[in-house]
């Protein structure tokens, strides 16, 4: 009943050949398109000028250490705010997902909160909290003195609203029969959320969460409004004094060094979770 190994080998080979041909076509066409674009840019009359102002190696080298020094501030602030946001947002999302009529006022508050905080530009919230709260004259000195705290609070408020909406979409996408099953085995509403709904929801929303993660990482630069010299502000200072945009590139590079590995890790993990569940359907 076993099949001769050369049958199997032939099939494998055919499959590989097929794949390889397609691969080559795709690769060649991508190289042609991208290469053509690159050629066009590099051979343009203004390329030297552009290279000098946007991609100058000397300027990059000179500005990089300062930008990097500023970047630590971003990273620290980002990590703290992100952690706070992940927790608060889940709370807001859970409140918004309740259906009990008694909780209507709380739900209303949560709705108003997300609507307003998403709708208002982050920069305005940073202004309001960052300059408004100290102006009230009732905030403690340590809060007023350090722009990081106020800036962090402003960012956390805004991003809680964004992330809460992402969570909520995830919660809603879990089929109601899952909740019914969780209740039926005797879990409470809270336990059903914690052990059944939330874990399934979180897995589904990881990519959009990563979007907001990455946005936050970049919006951390907005605390610069309150004075601290974080990476983007340092780049701006250096760009303005040199009439050269390259320092921004240094900042972007640092951002990429965080976000790209993050995106890769998330992708790998999602693929694993997917493989673990569900039949793999052949094409």
């Amino acid at each position: 009943m076993d099949i001769a190994p050369d049958r199997r080998a032939a099939r494998e080979a055919a499959r590989r050949r097929h794949a390889r041909r397609g691969s080559v076509v795709a690769a060649v066409s991508s190289v042609v398109v991208l290469g053509g674009l690159a050629m066009l840019i590099v051979s343009s009359p203004g390329w030297e000028d552009v290279q000098r102002t946007f991609f100058s190696w000397e300027v990059f080298r000179d500005s990089f250490p300062d930008v990097l020094a500023g970047f630590w501030l971003d990273v620290k602030l980002f990590l703290v705010v992100e952690a706070v946001v992940l927790v608060l947002a889940l709370g807001v999302a859970l409140v918004r997902s309740t259906r009990a009529p008694a909780l209507f006022p709380v739900r209303l508050m949560a709705t108003v909160f997300t609507d307003v905080m998403r709708g208002v530009p982050v920069i305005l919230v940073v202004y309001l909290i960052g300059f408004g709260v100290p102006a009230l004259g009732i905030a403690p000195d340590w809060l007023v003195q350090d722009p990081i705290y106020l800036g962090g609070i402003a960012l956390a408020l805004c991003y809680t609203a964004y992330v809460a909406e992402v969570y909520r979409a995830g919660l809603d996408s879990v089929h109601p029969s899952q909740r019914a099953a969780a209740l039926a085995v005797g879990l409470s509403e809270t336990q059903a959320m914690r052990h059944v709904i939330v874990p399934q929801a979180v897995r589904r929303v990881v990519p959009p969460l990563l979007n907001d993660f990455i946005s936050l990482q970049k919006d951390v630069a907005l605390v610069a409004i309150l004075g601290p010299q974080e990476a983007f502000r340092v780049a701006q200072i250096s760009a303005a004094s040199d009439f050269n945009f390259t320092p921004f590139l240094a900042a972007a590079m640092l951002y990429l060094m965080v976000t790209v590995p993050l995106a890769r890790i998330v992708d790998r993990q999602q693929a694993k979770a997917r493989r673990r569940q569900g039949h793999v359907v052949a094409t």
Binding site: Q145, Q229, F243
Partner: protein
């Protein structure tokens, strides 16, 4: 307007290439001058550069006149500070926007000779512990704020070398709010701005003094890189300086004096 009808003719100092008719202008027949939007006093009064009121507005009309243009032949456009030194062709003939002349910047754009050299002014709240500062050393422990894109940051770092990292703000509005809120102890701006902020914006503030930026902070008109117009504008500025007209414009719009803060 303060247009001086009797300004000395400068045709001798202007090379032949600077004949009005021969100038390579963005829009032939008119001189296109740029400044930021908005433009602030005392450089431009009421954000209206065409009035000739305000230091840079007045300087622009004086240069225009040197080059042979009437006031009607001057057009103003608004260009954000950042794009004044973006590479590529410019939409203006020259730009007056408190741009400090720096070697690095000269790689991307041309500068005329300086039309003003500004000292830095230090402003503190009236009830501040630093209100009585008489030397730069007195300011070492102060939390200082400056505006982004100005030379003040370098000046503070090099001359005062404060113990706390200088806070850098987006614009004068923000830096002033930080001062009022007590988020910074002192703000450092170019002297004309300091004077304006003290007189018109921050009630009860004290101008504790002024100091020279290292190597001086010279403001020049910005032109497109390798522009044919650069020597002509430079010549016009030089001639205004020589004639004393520049000094009188300066006197009129940025008059006041302030104590000089010395290094201990």
């Amino acid at each position: 307007g303060d247009d001086d009808e009797t300004a000395s003719p400068t045709t001798e100092t202007t090379a032949l290439a600077c004949e009005k008719a021969d100038l390579a202008l963005v829009t032939p027949g008119t001189l296109t001058v740029a400044t930021d939007s908005p433009a602030f006093p005392p450089y431009v009064i009421d954000d209206d550069p065409t009035s000739g009121k305000g230091f840079e507005s007045a300087v622009a009309y004086a240069i225009a006149e040197e080059l042979g243009f009437t006031a009607e032949e001057v057009t103003w456009i608004r260009v954000p500070f950042n794009s004044t030194f973006a590479p590529g062709p410019k939409k203006f003939d020259f730009d007056l926007n408190q741009v400090s002349i720096k070697a690095e910047r000269q790689k991307g754009a041309d500068f005329s000779s300086p039309y003003y050299t500004t000292p830095q002014g230090v402003l503190v709240a009236g009830d501040s512990e630093f209100a009585g500062a008489t030397t730069l050393t007195d300011l070492k422990d102060a939390q200082i704020g400056v505006q982004v894109g100005t030379t003040s940051l370098d000046a503070v770092n090099e001359v005062i070398a404060p113990g706390k990292q200088v806070r850098v703000f987006n614009d004068s509005n923000d830096v002033v709010r930080a001062l009022k809120n007590g988020q910074v102890d002192a703000i450092v701006t170019d002297l004309p701005t300091t004077l304006y902020l003290r007189d018109a914006v921050v009630e009860g503030s004290t101008l504790v003094g002024q100091f020279e930026a290292p190597g001086g902070d010279d403001w020049g008109a910005v032109l497109e890189k390798d522009s044919e117009l650069t020597p002509c504008v430079t010549a016009a500025v030089d001639s205004l300086r020589d004639s004393g007209e520049l000094a009188s414009i300066t006197e009129q719009w940025i008059g006041a004096e302030a104590p000089v803060l010395a290094l201990e």
